[in-house]
């Protein structure tokens, strides 16, 4: 659809081929890009399940007539509809009536929201020194302006506290970076953003970073996780059916914020996750990256680092190996390993640094090329050629040291792209790995900017003002 509209803008009539199951998404993209009447040529059914003769019959009998129609029948230019301003009151009613209205307009995630009144929104704005109309970016696929104002509105709705506002703004700044590819968050893998939080603000605002760290239940972790999904829905336009742009085939629920155990990581003599990404250990930093799945609860036992690494390579490596095919094609892969404080302490006691852990994972996690080729075809790649990717410098030479289809190649693309966060139950030897979605949702970090009167504002809040 994007290419078709680029062609139309260049003065060339165009028609995208879209499979039946993607028509709603295609139309929503066209609408968001300013061409709601774009002609779309439907290919019937699920192409990856069709035999060759069946495919050619669909092309000749259905697709080609649709293409001809799309390129010959005139279509009208649409007129842009008027939309409310930021402070316009769009609805008045009781809590139940507001809830029903927001559900009908698809402005909620299916749960009731806190009504975003002007008073509540302004209470959030007090916790940032930034102007409400500051534009943080344009969020695709819906191509809408992300502003400090609508960050506050959605923060109110999600059940956040006003003092979370600096974190919410930093999160939106992160997802608005073009490299984050938010526009692809509605792709079929159904990836979900994962927020990682570092710095003194973890304790200051009462985030959970111990037992049940990824469970809903603590207000800070939960409401901010909900905020991001709500924001992506309302401002980026990533809504599931009916009628919108999120085509995550099965997808996932939102992630709560993953806060690092700052005391534990400092006690090991390790840098925290934010410092690994170029910040100081004592800075408040938010990182957002995609996650398409996670390992089973990854128990590792023993008194030595090597014994723990054996299990981490096995479970984290094998889990990530099912996505190496697409990571190798894109040349990016940023999985994240959450290590429990007790396991991290054994690794550190044996003298392992985080770089040692990353290097060991990279060198020991392996997958066969035969498996990658099958998985690549299954997901829909028409070709998968590691030799070509190596020749183009997309991946290292280790991926093509011979033409043996049963050879083993690395699971990970680069060791330095494996994230490590120390968090979770301090009383259990359980870890967890998150599989990231290649160049869609790579980690993006932003410093959290607090207002000059932050301490006074917090004190005010604690006194219940």
């Amino acid at each position: 659809v994007r290419a078709s509209i680029a062609a139309e803008k260049a003065g060339v009539p165009a028609v995208p081929i879209v499979a039946s199951g993607f028509l709603t998404q295609g139309r929503a993209f066209a609408r968001a890009l300013g061409m709601p009447n774009l002609a779309i040529a439907e290919y019937p059914g699920v192409i990856m399940t069709h035999a060759e003769d069946e495919l050619q019959k669909h092309v000749a009998d259905t697709l080609v007539p649709n293409i001809v129609k799309g390129l010959t029948v005139p279509i009208a230019t649409a007129v842009k509809a008027a939309e409310p301003g930021p402070e316009d009151i769009v609805f008045s009613g009781t809590l139940d009536e507001v809830t029903e209205h927001f559900l009908a307009e698809q402005w909620t995630d299916g749960l009731p929201v806190i009504p975003p009144t002007l008073e509540r929104v302004r209470s959030f704005l007090r916790f940032t020194g930034r102007k409400p109309d500051e534009i943080l970016g344009i969020l695709a696929p819906d191509n809408r302006e992300a502003t400090i104002w609508n960050v506050a509105v959605n923060g109110v709705m999600a059940g956040c506290r006003p003092e979370y506002m600096p974190i919410l703004a930093a999160i939106v700044e992160a997802i608005a970076e073009p490299v984050f590819h938010l526009r692809d968050a509605g792709a079929t893998p159904g990836w979900e953003p994962l927020i990682v939080l570092n710095g003194p603000i973890v304790k200051q605002l009462d985030f959970n970073y111990e037992t049940g760290v990824m469970r809903v239940g603590r207000q800070a972790n939960t409401s901010i996780g909900r905020f991001l999904r709500l924001y992506m829905r309302n401002v980026a336009g990533l809504r599931i059916a009916p009628g919108n742009t999120d085509k995550g085939s099965i997808a996932l629920g939102f992630n709560v914020v993953l806060a690092e155990n700052e005391e534990a990581v400092a006690g090991l003599g390790w840098n925290n996750f934010a410092a690994d990404r170029g910040f100081a250990n004592d800075e408040n930093v938010v990182t957002v990256q995609s996650a398409i799945g996670m390992t089973v609860p990854l128990y590792s036992a023993g008194e030595t680092a090597l014994r723990h690494m054996e299990t981490l390579v096995d479970v984290f490596g094998r889990t990530c190996s099912f996505w190496t095919h697409t990571a190798a094609r894109k040349g990016q892969f940023h999985p994240l390993l959450m290590i429990s404080p007790v396991v991290a302490s054994i690794l550190a006691r044996d003298g392992w640094t985080k770089d040692d852990v990353r290097r060991h994972l990279y060198e020991n996690a392996r997958v066969s090329v035969r498996a990658l080729e099958r998985q690549a075809w299954d997901i829909g790649f028409s070709s998968f050629d590691l030799a070509d990717y190596v020749a183009k410098g997309i991946i290292s030479k280790e991926f093509h040291e011979s033409d043996d289809p049963d050879r083993l190649v690395p699971v990970f693309i680069r060791p330095e792209w494996i994230g490590i966060v120390v968090s979770g139950d301090p009383g259990r030897n359980q870890n967890k790995g998150f599989v990231e979605n290649h160049d869609q949702g790579p980690p993006v970090s932003k410093r959290i900017v607090l207002p000059g009167n932050w301490d006074a504002l917090l004190q005010e809040r604690r006194k219940g003002k």
Binding site: A10, A32, L71, T72, G85, D142
Partner: protein, 103 residues
């Protein structure tokens, strides 16, 4: 005593998209040069071959310009390929474009 009423604001943001002016459609495919704007995926080779054969059968004289010239519209260089598209379409005298695959 009645329930409290809430006056609420809009949770979306201003649209940054302008409406796109639609173009005149193809008058005669027999004289048309058609761009096949594809990416590597979802059996694009088989679909492209089928589309080319069917259109050539229906409209003798139709010409095609493909990905090898115009680039991969959903590859690693997608942004650059899309940005270069207007100039490429002009350079090759393209009359219509077929884009795929949306799967």
């Amino acid at each position: 005593m009645g329930e409290q009423n809430y006056d609420v604001v809009w949770p979306l943001g201003r649209s940054a998209s302008d409406m796109v002016t639609t173009q005149s459609r193809v008058a005669d495919f027999r004289k048309a040069r058609v761009a096949l704007l594809f990416h590597v995926g979802f059996r694009d080779k088989e679909v492209r071959a089928g589309v080319e054969a069917a259109l050539a059968g229906l409209y003798p004289g139709v010409e095609f310009v493909d990905r090898a010239v115009l680039g991969d519209i959903h590859g690693r260089d997608e942004a650059a390929v899309i940005a270069a598209l207007p100039a490429k379409l002009r350079e090759y005298g393209i009359d219509a474009a077929i884009c795929g695959m949306g799967c």
